[in-house]
Amino acid sequence: MPHWKNAIIVGASSGIGAALAKALTADGTQVALVARGRDKLAALAASLNEAASEMLAWVYPHDVTEIATVPALFAEITHDLGGLDLIIYAAGTMPRIGPDEYYTDKDAGMIAANFTGAVAWLNEAARRFEKAGAGTIVGISSVAGDRGRRGAPVYGATKAALNTYLESLRNRIERRGAFVVTVKPGPVDTPMTQGLKMPGMISAERAAAEILLAAKEKVRVAYVPARWRPIMAVIRAIPAPIFKWLNI
């Protein structure tokens, strides 16, 4: 018996999203894969369905920055799946930003993919789950949203915005029986982090397993892996006048 019958993964084509799709279909969950790039999604779906020996993964090409198309696509997917128990927003971009770079176009692209797209998809899910009195929303945020670091002003800000938005959703719908999980991964080995040297990097598969476990156990804010919770508690506690001199 799968824990969830029907799920949507937005940002499913690679990285954590693809690993989540693999873990969910392995458990028997029917999954709608949403991302740009039909071919890549189709190849992923084919490999997942072959591994599961049944049709569990379905392909919905979509660009998360095109928010006007979200309500119709959301309705189409829930109709096709025959219901929805879980939605995971895993889409996101982190273009390289130089230490002295201020490039508004890049920033606007990050805001659109990391935050506005999340609002467009998760608003639809929240409205439905509030009515259904059940359902799980998982937002893949980042430890980068916990402080304003020098290196990534807007990436961190989009994740901080996502954290606050998810907290508000939780406060709206949890009392109706639905559930919201904020996931804050540390560095994960994905196409987004390719070529970067980062401490304590874990695989996307491990991140996916920990994320799904947190969602099953109804952890409201999950650090992935868990050791980031105490680390970030310390980092959050550093006074701002000191933090600005630290290059972390």
Binding site: P71, T78, G82, G83, K131, A132, G133, A134
Partner: protein
């Protein structure tokens, strides 16, 4: 043309109609666009809206089916409970014409003071008559009175095309015998005409008899059937070994004219009402909360034991009179008792087995349940007879209905158990009942009803509903291509 159609199927349904809809057992739920029409025009509007959004329409009465028979996930649900007018009543002949959403409660309360009671009622008075017809419900007198369909004289059915057809045993007889028991897949029954039964008192003579095991239960049924108007057995499913199948039988009989010296009084609705408190103290609305601590294996084992002890001692052979409503609607004594099964809800597993093999099959079912560690909290036993309806669930034999709590820990075991129990029923050429079902497999449904019946039914569906717009979760689970 194709483009035109494509445009037509893209008008989204209003999001404010989205609701969470539950099967009665609360273990099956679905999010659905719910429409509550008051007349045929309203039904047509809902069909059109569904058509233009490329979605199907599922019919729902009071939502008293345990499983997914009235659910239509992500599509349109037509809730017919607002169509509840009583259209014509003749107290001389006992013939009544009602709209589809009239409940059994509304029906008996309307007619009893004239001395008429429905031939067939379910264990709860809340189902609608449209729903009762679509499921072809039975009561504790099925072997004698047949299903409710045997007492429906005629009905009007609105096909998805907008055509209204009048069906009876003489006109549109094929549709009459298929739509009754057709679980809402052929059209919307909008009005029904029923024949009621004359009663000479508001009371029944009731006798309670304790039984020690299945052998005792079957022997008692065989000896009492010829002299009973109603006969129902309750089984303690926790008992095993020599006591397997122990429980209690209730026999009820109508009173003859003259036996009740004050029939006018006993036929008053007030006299039929169920008590509104326990021991005159505890309001019934809170009783399910008092039950909640006992809805687990040890609590239910204790309650079943106490009940069977009482059945074999102090209540054994006791006779008393009871109102029709009091005897018939046992499930309504504690309002919302199902909430004691929250959060997982419950399923009911009811199988119908020919009389020759019923004892062996039911014994084996209970042993299996016990070996799985998934013991039903309630078992109800009844006698049936075959009927003339196409998708019939009845056999010349017995049925055993088992209530199982659904919990996350035991859900997997419960599904394996029901699949194994299905196998036993199919080997004995038994049947299942859509109003109760939530776990049957498509191949088992096919085997139980037979390819010929199902092909005939689906051909008729193709004729009445060529767009295949009438669907439910149950239909997709068991029949859809």
């Amino acid at each position: 043309m194709a483009e035109h159609l494509n445009n037509q199927t893209n008008i989204p349904l209003p999001e404010e109609r989205l609701e969470n809809v539950e099967g009665w057992g609360m273990s099956s739920t679905a999010v659905s666009y719910v429409y509550r029409p008051v007349n045929c025009d309203g039904i047509q509007e809902a069909f059109d809206a569904a058509r233009h959004s490329g979605r199907s329409v599922g019919l729902r009465g009071a939502g008293r089916s345990y499983g997914d028979a009235s659910l239509n996930a992500e599509n349109v649900t037509l809730d017919l409970t607002r169509m509840r007018r009583i259209l014509k009543w003749d107290p001389e002949t006992g013939v009544i014409r009602v709209e589809t959403g009239v409940s059994i409660q509304q029906l008996w309360q309307y007619t009893i003071e004239d001395g008429w009671w429905p031939h067939v009622v379910s264990g709860t008075m809340f189902p609608t008559l449209g729903g009762a017809a679509a499921m072809n419900i039975h009561g504790k007198n099925n072997w004698k009175a047949g299903p409710i369909g045997d007492h429906i004289l005629a009905f009007d059915i609105l096909l998805p095309s907008g055509e209204l057809k009048h069906c009876s045993r003489t006109g549109n007889s094929e549709l009459f015998h298929a739509a009754i028991g057709g679980f809402g897949m052929l059209g919307v029954i909008t009005e029904l005409t029923l024949q009621l039964k004359k009663v000479h008192s508001g009371l029944l003579k009731v006798e309670a008899i304790g039984v020690r095991n299945f052998q005792d239960l079957f022997d008692l049924f065989e000896s009492r059937l010829p002299v009973s108007d109603y006969l129902v057995g309750w089984i303690d499913c926790f008992a095993s070994g020599d006591a397997l199948g122990r429980g209690q039988v209730h026999q009820a009989n109508y009173l003859e004219p003259g036996e009740d010296t004050h029939p006018v009084q006993s036929l008053r609705v007030e006299h039929q009402e169920l008590p509104d408190s326990l021991f005159g103290v505890v309001p019934k609305s809170v009783m399910w909360r008092l039950m909640k601590p006992f809805v687990n294996d040890s609590g239910m084992q204790a309650i079943n034991f106490a009940k069977s002890l009482s059945a074999s001692t102090i209540s054994h052979g006791q006779t008393h009179t009871q109102s029709h409503a009091g005897f018939a609607f046992l499930l309504d004594y504690v309002p919302n008792w199902k909430h004691a099964y929250k959060p997982g809800g419950l399923i009911q597993y009811q199988s119908f087995v020919p009389k020759e093999s019923a004892q062996a099959v039911f014994s084996e079912q209970l042993k299996l349940a016990q070996s799985y560690g998934v013991v039903p909290y309630l078992g109800v036993f009844k006698r049936h007879r075959p009927d003339n309806f196409l998708m019939t669930h009845a056999v010349d034999g017995y049925s055993l209905a088992l209530d199982f709590a659904v919990t996350p820990e035991k859900k997997g075991a419960l599904l394996s158990l029901t699949a194994e129990m299905d196998r036993l029923v199919l080997e004995a050429e038994g049947r299942f009942y859509f109003a109760k079902d939530s776990a049957l497999h498509r191949s088992s449904a096919l085997e139980a009803l037979g390819r010929e019946r199902i092909s005939k039914f689906l051909a008729l569906k193709q004729e009445c509903d060529p767009e295949n717009i009438l669907q439910t979760n149950l239909y997709r689970r068991l029949f859809a291509e």
